[in-house]
């Protein structure tokens, strides 16, 4: 009863859960243009994920698996369906998610093994894979209701059916480490723990070790895949920035339902991986012009962001492509050979930034 009353007053007064607020991009998240200025390694057709075995970089592009040799991409494999997630195994093989509905091993000693469900529930939107130090696979299944490509449907229906899964490729055993996640998107092992991104709750959560809890909370964007950094810590990609407008729409159930029923998904008031292609896109409602001066910022519909985390999960610095940029919708960032490779799905580009250069320009 008291909770219901509180919810009612919160909604009326715009407080608590009903406060339409967004954390600022400041401190370690202070905007820059590093992603926008990054070297473009390749322009791809349908890039989805990156992986590295420590020597080479692998990129999934539609149903193709590409390997980066020097500055050229070469086809390493071609599969029968779209690759939605990718991880390199220590035996030289790959773990691959196909259309979000199947996890398959290619190459190595477990070649050909495949799984379509865990705990009796079929995979629906497997969007990230990682390998633990003991050789097991970690997978995130974003949603049990919406397919991999329908992530914005899941956000707009306030989905919380994501799962964090563990797969033993040797025995084939699958277990659910966590469920009820607000779109699980990206995970990796951190010591004896597993860290998983919950995109719709804008946080990074840990499981295992000493229980579960939040590592990094209240991010100003929607986190996606996470990968280890060579000298400790992690690279966290963020595929879109939060805005007050979207937060407002998420709290307006009737409006949201009608929007979903009547408007084409690409024109929803929702985060997107790229924007500015058509005038039909929703306005973001900012004071762009003040006293006749065009401001260099505005609440973004799409954004590019990679956050460097310390080994404790604290942001150290970040790389941005701002509202006027192109390299938006960053879904993966992987370190390989002294460089950071970033997949900007919005512009379908693979970017490369020497880490020494990043740190020189961002660290005091």
């Amino acid at each position: 009863m008291i909770a219901a009353l509180r919810e009612f007053t919160d909604r009326a007064l715009g407080r608590g859960e009903a406060a339409i607020t967004v954390p600022p991009f400041d401190g370690a998240l202070k905007p820059n243009q590093l992603l926008e200025e990054a070297a473009v390694v390749a322009e791809l057709d349908a890039p989805e994920d990156l992986a590295t075995d420590g020597r080479s970089l692998f990129v999934s592009d539609g149903s193709r698996l590409l390997r980066l040799d020097g500055s050229q991409l070469h086809e390493a494999e071609r599969l029968d369906r779209i690759i939605t997630a990718l991880a390199c195994r220590s035996d030289g093989g790959f773990a691959i998610a196909l259309e979000g509905k199947e996890v398959r091993i290619r190459g190595g000693k477990d070649d050909g093994k495949r799984w379509q469900e865990a705990a009796g529930q079929p995979f629906c939107a497997i969007n990230a894979l990682a390998v633990t130090p003991n050789g097991k696979l970690i997978a995130t299944d974003g949603s049990a209701r919406h397919s991999y490509n329908e992530w914005s449907h899941d956000l707009m229906s306030l989905g919380c059916t994501g799962r964090l899964l563990e797969i033993d490729p040797v025995s084939g055993a699958r277990s659910v480490i966590a469920d009820g996640l607000g779109y699980a998107f990206g995970a990796c092992s951190a010591g004896d723990e597993i860290w998983v991104c919950e995109s719709w709750r804008h946080r990074l959560v840990r499981y295992g070790g000493s229980g579960s809890g939040s590592v990094l909370d209240r991010l100003p964007g929607y986190p996606s895949r996470i990968a280890p950094a060579a000298d400790g810590g992690f690279w966290l990609s963020v595929f879109a920035a939060r805005t007050q407008l979207v937060e407002f729409v998420l709290r307006e159930t009737a409006y949201r339902k009608r929007m979903m029923a009547e408007v084409e998904p690409q024109y929803w008031i929702a985060p997107t991986l790229s924007s500015g292609r058509t005038f039909l896109e929703p306005m973001q409602g900012a004071h762009i012009k003040t006293m006749g001066i065009l401001k260099p910022w505005a609440p973004p519909r799409s954004y590019g962001l990679v956050i460097r985390l310390s080994s404790e999960g604290l942001p150290r610095y970040s790389l941005h492509s701002r509202v006027d940029g192109k390299n938006h919708g960053v879904v993966a960032a992987v370190e390989c050979g002294g460089s950071l490779f970033v997949l900007a799905k919005g512009s379908r580009r693979l970017l490369r930034l020497p880490i020494a250069d990043i740190e020189r320009s961002l660290l005091p």
């Binding site: 406060a19 967004v22 600022p24």
Partner: protein, 498 residues
């Protein structure tokens, strides 16, 4: 060549021996709009107050139409043809527009209808769209300002001074207000206006005068200025021989986020403000008057309340908080060291020891049922020594201390509460140079100990010297962030005014 309608020669005004304006020369031509620009404390308000008879010159001359004058009250200045329109207008809110216009000119028998007709005609002649029968309290900010202006014109003033006239106006009202200024100019009225918005000065003024640290820097025609030149003139001081001469070469890395302010709103002072404060760092907040810095952090500390509806969020260690009074904030480790120590900082007739003990009691609340003199003395001994408070004893009344030592008492009173987040609002205002260095050392020590420290300051060199990161606030929200290593006075001032 036309003679100036108003002239100040070598104008100096000192407060307690400290010059607020120092040997300033200023001329105002007939029918001219003259913008006064400068940082906080540059002397703009003092200069205009001298013109309006609010304060008198310590030395120097003031001439109106070539005749030396010395108005000692605003009424005297008004008789000389000078009127000042303050930010907080001086209208009687419960009276009508017409009654306010003719206030002070009433006769023994007044015919209200006659006043309304006269007011209507007069307002129409000025092209002011205000109903003479409207009650002033029901008017918007721009219309109130119109009534103030009309009243000044009615008194046949030749010079009108506006102090930050556009601060409370909406963009539409601002445009209307500028049209009014041009209308007055056409009638031959000279206007002096203070503004923190450079665009306004460049848009409306004929000439611009820039003051810095109480001194005249430059006066020139609008077309000879651009934003960069104004900003350079506002901040271009030589600091090599001062406390702030050394540039920061190293900044502390950010620790955990202690405070996150998200989309905070408080009346028209704080507008959708968002910022974070991290442990182990000094976060400097710079902004000009009306930037909403003090109000933002007073909301954080529970001194004032945010908007009742959709007031945004304040998160302390990622936990939403909404302090209605300071006591729970103090218990949660948030302290606010006020900018106005004499009013809000200490009990002036109580001793140092008693003041410090009050700080502890504010934290402990009901946990201390009985007062302990020995505890108060112990506390005073510790903090008088730690902060080097110079007094003949801990039982000395705070009112008897110097400004610097009073400020140390205020700081100590907050530090006895063992805070995690310390907000210093103008910590070195009215403090001697020696004490400034000690207060800066203390602030640095607190950050080195891992505390989250916020320093709000209107003095740019101070912000740059002490901060690890600098947030620039403008018109109610943070508009720019700089690392101390990349910040320059020009960059910060540009963000604050642009």
């Amino acid at each position: 060549m036309t003679n100036p309608v108003l002239e100040l020669r070598q104008a100096t005004k000192k407060y307690a021996g400290v010059p607020a304006i120092d040997s300033v020369d200023f001329t105002l031509m007939p029918g001219e709009i003259h913008a006064l620009v400068g940082e906080n404390g540059a002397g703009k308000s003092t200069l205009t107050k001298v013109m309006a008879g609010v304060v008198t010159l310590t030395s120097g001359q003031m001439l109106i139409e070539g005749k030396e004058v010395n108005p000692r009250t605003p009424t005297e200045a008004r008789h000389l043809g000078v009127a000042m329109v303050f930010q907080e207008n001086s209208l009687v809110p419960t009276m009508t527009v017409a009654q306010n216009l003719f206030l002070g000119q009433e006769q023994f028998f007044n015919r209200l209808r006659g006043i309304y007709i006269a007011a209507q005609q007069f307002l129409q002649s000025l092209n002011f769209d205000v109903a003479p029968t409207a009650t002033v309290s029901l008017l918007g900010a721009a219309k109130k300002q119109m009534v103030e202006i009309a009243r000044a014109v009615l008194h046949n003033v030749k010079i009108i001074i506006f102090d930050e006239p556009t601060a409370s106006l909406t963009p539409e009202e601002k445009k209307y207000f500028f049209d009014l200024m041009l209308e007055l100019k056409k009638r031959g009225v000279s206007i002096v206006f203070i503004s923190h918005a450079l665009e306004e000065a460049l848009q409306i003024a004929d000439r611009i005068t820039i003051l810095r640290d109480g001194k005249h820097v430059i006066t020139d025609w609008k077309q000879n200025f651009d934003r960069a030149r104004i900003v350079r003139a506002m901040v271009g001081r030589d600091l090599s021989q001062t406390l702030y001469g050394r540039r920061k070469t190293k900044v502390r890395p950010a620790g955990r986020r202690v405070l996150s302010i998200q989309n905070l709103r408080m009346a028209n002072m704080v507008k959708n403000n968002s910022l974070s404060v991290f442990a182990g760092q000094v976060t400097g907040i710079f902004g000009l008057v009306g930037a909403g810095r003090t109000e933002t952090f007073k909301v954080v500390a529970g001194v004032i309340k945010r908007d009742f509806f959709h007031g945004g969020e304040v998160l302390l260690h990622d936990r939403p908080t909404r302090y209605l009074v300071p006591a729970p904030a103090i218990r949660d480790g948030v302290v606010y060291v006020t900018e106005d120590r004499k009013v809000e900082g200490f009990f002036e007739t109580m001793s140092i020891a008693q003041n410090l003990y009050m700080g502890l009691l504010a934290k402990l609340g009901k946990k201390r049922s009985f007062l302990s003199k020995s505890e108060a003395d112990g506390l005073a001994d510790k903090w008088v020594k730690a902060l080097n408070i110079r007094a003949t004893g801990k039982d000395v009344k705070v009112v008897e201390l110097s400004g610097g030592n009073q400020q140390k008492v205020v700081i100590a009173k907050s530090l006895v509460q063992e805070p995690e987040l310390i907000i210093f609002d103008e910590p070195t205002r009215g403090v001697d140079v020696g004490a400034i260095a000690e207060i800066h050392q203390l602030i640095n020590k607190l950050a080195d100990e891992g505390k989250a420290v916020v320093v709000i300051s209107s003095y740019l060199p101070e912000v740059m010297a002490i901060s690890d990161r600098i947030l620039v606030s403008r018109q109610g929200k943070v508009v720019e962030e700089f690392s101390a290593l990349e910040a320059t006075e020009e960059k910060i001032m540009y963000a604050a005014v642009h």
